[in-house]
Amino acid sequence: MNLIEVNDLTFSYGSEPVLYNVNFSVAKGDFLALIGSNGTGKSTLLRLLLRELTPASGTIRLFGEDIHHFKDWPKIGYVPQVGLRSVNDFPATVEEIVRANLFSQIGLFRFPQKEHFAKTQQALEMVGMEQYAKRMIGNLSGGQQQRVLLARVLVNDPELMFLDEPTSGVDANTVTSLYTLLGELNKKTGLTVVMVTHDLGRAARQVHRTLCLEEGTLVELDKAQVDEELRHKHKHPDRQCRLMAE
């Protein structure tokens, strides 16, 4: 079953068009990278998939259901682009931040039980951050904070995970280990990953499919095109998806 099906999606901010007739699908277990230059609408596409924006036309189906009727949002995890900034000054420990996402399992007006504390610990172990459980999030490095945000999503056992440039502001070594971790999660648990990234070079080893968004149009790149794209990106880091422009 396709977890995401997007058909003829068009979106504009006022009179400024951003996406035209975008079509793609994501199957269970896919690890998909969404690339494109700045301002091409990658984050907008994610916001449409999270129903934060309404398309001008076209349809989005999540888990086989029209997005307007879709209610099972806890199946979807989201690691934001601005995550680092939002948590940096927040006075909370790592375990408090991870446990927050167990809401759907704990329920309204209820308090966490032993099993929820155990799940938090497990999620932190999955990302190798269990020893930092009692530390304040603001005292961690950027890479560690991003792992915590990943654990916050994983604690809820999502089937589909969106990541919006998860490695922005993270050093090179940490970026590689984060992508490796995502690759392992994808292989071991069958977690479907859709990731917006500017860093295809480091992510390419883990990613199964690469979609490129340029001038409002979405195209899937094959292996040879990805290699070409990486060579081009190396020479012109500010431009992506050269193949599409040609």
Binding site: E52, G77, V87, T93, E96, A100, N101, K134, N156
Partner: protein, 275 residues
């Protein structure tokens, strides 16, 4: 018994002060973490319009303040949604409108002393009705805060993620807006409309310097607020100062000392390594 507690009005002041000190930081911590610290200021100033209206039409001014604060709080939310790119403008618009309305209405108030008591508060002049009102509202705010503890935490941390996790963000924000409006309006009576937002923010700022978790920060915020209120009442009584202003000034002095102490501690910890 201490001489100060022999007076009925002082006993009431301590009861009301401690109750408010317990609930204001509960609202304050969420407001601060949502980066909306100025909302307290806007609502408390707007509450003055309700106070004036209450005095003019002959209803309890606190009730007038509560109604005005709720309308103002939803007005802020409405404007924020209409112009999300300049969200902070909504606070300025509502605050200006509130002050303007309060200014116009105050001209029609016959007993100006009563109206002025809301500017700087009059915790020592609490009536029976106000004592019961504060007690009831404090119970409601505390209970709601405890029941929605994890939801409010998550919403203030990351509203988008909270929505994805299944938290009913809209209804909880609605409840919180009402709680904020009600708390601000009753607090305006005690510490004064001009400084109520300080009492929302300063104990939280102090707690953030010493708290080692969100839970600790909440607990310390309440403890700091109670400490400032109790010591403020004692000092103001014996030094013949205005209680509201004294309470807030003690809080600000404590915050400055904590910040200075933290800086000195950091320098002290760094110096052996540098040597």
């Amino acid at each position: 018994m201490l001489a100060i507690l022999e007076y009925d009005f002082m006993r009431r002041a301590f009861i009301v002060g401690i109750l408010l000190a317990a609930i204001i930081p509960c609202i304050g911590i969420i407001v601060v973490l949502k980066r909306l610290s100025m909302i307290g200021d806007a609502l408390s100033h707007t509450s003055l319009a309700g106070v004036a209206a209450g005095l003019i039409i002959g209803i309890n001014p606190i009730l007038g303040a509560v109604v005005t604060c709720i309308v103002a709080a939803f007005g802020i939310e409405l404007i924020r949604k209409r112009i999300p790119k300049y969200a902070e403008m909504s606070i300025a618009i509502v605050m200006s409108a509130g002050i303007g309305l309060a200014g116009v209405l105050s001209g029609f108030v016959k007993n100006n002393a009563n109206f002025n008591s809301f500017l700087f508060g009059s915790i020592v002049a609490i009536s029976d009705f106000e004592l019961i009102l504060v007690a009831c509202i404090s119970c409601i705010v505390l209970l709601t805060f405890i029941l929605l503890y994890k939801e409010l935490f998550f919403i203030s941390l990351d509203e988008r993620a909270a929505r994805l996790a299944g938290i009913p963000v809209g209804p909880i924000n609605f409840i919180f807006t009402i709680l904020t409006a009600v708390t601000v309006s009753i607090a305006a009576r005690t510490v004064g409309a001009l400084i109520v937002s300080s009492l929302m923010v300063v104990p939280v700022a102090c707690a953030m310097q010493v708290g080692k978790s969100y839970f600790q920060t909440v607990v310390y915020s309440i403890l700091f607020a109670i400490l400032f209120t109790v010591s403020g009442l004692f000092i103001s009584y014996y030094a013949r100062l205005k209680p509201g202003g004294t309470i807030v000034l003690i809080g600000v002095i404590c915050l400055v000392l904590l910040l200075a102490g933290k800086k000195i501690l950091t320098l002290f910890r760094q110096s052996p390594g540098q040597a």
